[in-house]
Symmetry: C2
Subunit: 392 residues, 2 copies
């Protein structure tokens, strides 16, 4: 069966070029970079190169890049480092639409003597900046705001927020897991203290991430062990994946323009056709400030899970909300924060495209999804009730 | 140049069979196991299989295995979970010869309101069990004792210790990173609450580990995020490496007997020849209870680093102490804990063999190392002084 994979915010395929960079480490090049012998020691040069590649993607200095095991580890490290570096302060600020790696950690810390403010968003998923700025206090230890929302693709004004925080000397972290490699990031302009990156969202393998730590920012290690990563993270370096992440960031920079233009065009074509062909299809989130490849569409009065299952039969792989929160019957916390009505939030589908998607794939979805929605609605008492009410 | 890699306690080559299991995930099989669609969802079956394979190696139940990003993360998780699960208790017991992933974390916690007892070892690296049992208090929150020492290969009587701790209902963790896959481990006999495993010590890739968490043991997550690993560790699963670790543990079980017999034989042959051909060569650690492939030999009155550099010229890759502590000019904390004199500790070399080493490689070392030692000693004022003193 044909597979049309439009779930790239959940995870991406490893680029062929990335795999080629990784393979030598699974064959002859297996030394430990901490070893004294050149068989291992030479490998530290490869890590240095990858660090330069990742740094280049965000205009950082290589010494400001620390490799981690994933975006979640980057996020956890940033938050915990900030609070351990300023133990007298007990107020955390984040948003109501963060990824679980931030949201669940902040909720956990709320049970540990911390007070967390979750800044709301409006019905387009835009952050309430006045609310954010007004809740800053002398007790605020960290402000953590995601760059791009994983479910809607909505981009927050991180540059502006970071400048305000830099002026007020408040520690600022941004979870850029969905943004890095998809939109331009320049840490010379964005004054974040820390910034999280994940490999598997940008065609590197799963199990590798990075954390930007601005020079001069106090740091408290999360993983404590050996002297690796300049004493900032214990544990033997995941050399193959580090090299893969380096290559993936280099490719992301090369493809950034294409991704913005081509992937946006495909996404817009999909979106326009679905809104045209399916009644009561609503696009969730600010269409002006969005990731190029993401669209989140509510098909009112039917269940997202039912849509996903029927799409699955057709080989179309998308998602309802985040993979990291799937399995829950509750509608997405992101859409609830946006005030999307229950009847629409339950029927929301995220399509997330990458540079590997084609116009043919988009057309396949355009041809096949509207009849699926129609069929499901024919079985939905909510939809029928709605139609009767509309006619009355 | 010929490469003779005898640094397998630092890291190992990925087995060909392991690479074959991993490759599909870097190609078409890239879905996120948390996804609703079968393209991703099918992959959770592969994780289930790997969990069964790892569990089988230590006779655990699959639900008792949690995947981590490395041995250091497994160790950190165990210690922090234990102390967070019993916040009123403030006494940690470990040994003076642990890996930095335990040692440095415990030293860090000592600055955070915890009291740590480091149990000593004798001159053969054997743990002082009376000391250990006598320092247990009602305030003891965790006892963490490594299974096999990474520098000397000395095995501690973990089964006995675990029984004592189980009787006294004291949380017991063992860092089995160097032991797992090299000696038999049966968690039905060894009553540890948690046990750490690392992939890259047993021919799986770097960047993957596991933690055994006995059923009924309270657990507090280290990485907080999504619902992965049964809610015990956030972060998208590193599927390729998880599958690789599963295969590597299966291979380890298959090769365990061979490894014990053949690898011990090679190690013994190397050891006997070096002690025979090099004056003042001293084997460090208990030869009765040791890993099959490890020998730690002190070549008195010369510097280990000089030996390593000259071996490196010959393509022989070994190490002085642990890769995770290399770069330090201090002699190994393990050898110091054993009371090895400074003049010997500084000249200690660890040879660690795997099933991939051959008799020819061992002979190459036997033929080439003694002249290197002789040459270095000819340049060593300490050695010359010693010779003069001996003749006087």
């Amino acid at each position: 069966m044909k597979t049309v994979y439009v779930d790239n915010n959940a995870t991406t395929q490893v680029a062929q070029e990335v795999l080629e960079v990784m393979l030598p480490y699974f064959k002859g090049r297996y030394g430990n970079p901490s070893s004294m012998h050149s068989f291992g020691g030479n490998i530290s040069r490869d890590i240095k190169k990858a660090r330069e590649q990742v740094a280049a993607m965000i205009n950082a200095s290589p010494s400001e890049i620390m490799f981690t095991s994933c975006g979640t580890e980057s996020d956890n490290t940033a938050i915990l480092s900030a609070i351990h570096s300023a133990p007298d302060k007990k107020h955390i600020i984040t948003t109501r639409v963060e990824h679980p790696a931030i949201k669940n950690l902040c909720e956990h810390l709320s049970g540990q003597g911390y007070r967390t403010t979750f800044v709301p968003v409006d019905n387009k998923g835009r952050l309430d900046l006045d609310f954010l700025y007004n809740c800053l206090t002398d007790d605020t230890v960290i402000v953590s705001v995601m760059w791009a929302n994983n479910e809607t693709g909505v981009l927050f004004p991180i540059e502006e927020i970071s400048r305000v925080m830099a002026e007020k000397k408040i520690f600022f972290h941004t979870d850029a897991v969905q943004a890095a490699g998809k939109v331009p990031i320049d840490v010379q302009k964005v004054r974040a203290n820390m910034l999280s990156i994940s490999g598997h969202k940008i065609h590197a393998p799963k199990g590798i991430g990075a954390l930007f730590i601005r020079k001069g920012t106090r740091f408290s290690p999360f993983l404590i062990g050996g002297h690796q990563e300049n004493g900032r993270r214990g544990g033997t370096e995941n050399v193959a994946s580090i090299a893969g992440l380096g290559k993936a960031t280099e490719l992301a920079v090369q493809h950034l323009e294409e991704e913005t233009v081509e992937v946006s065009r495909l996404r817009d074509r999909l979106e326009a056709a679905l809104v045209r062909d399916v009644p009561s299809a609503i696009i969730n989130g600010d269409r002006e400030n969005r990731l190029p490849g993401t669209t989140n569409i509510s098909f009112e009065y039917i269940e997202g899970e039912a849509i996903l299952l029927m799409m699955n039969e057709l080989g179309i792989c998308a998602s309802s909300g985040s993979a990291c929160t799937s399995g829950s019957l509750e509608p997405s916390h992101v859409l609830r924060a946006m005030g999307v009505p229950y009847t629409a939030a339950h029927g929301s589908i995220r399509f997330s495209l990458s540079r590997y998607n084609t116009a043919e794939e988009v057309d396949y979805i355009i041809d096949n999804l509207p009849p699926v929605i129609a069929r499901l609605r024919n079985m939905s008492p909510f939809w029928k009730g709605q139609q009767v009410a509309a006619k009355a």
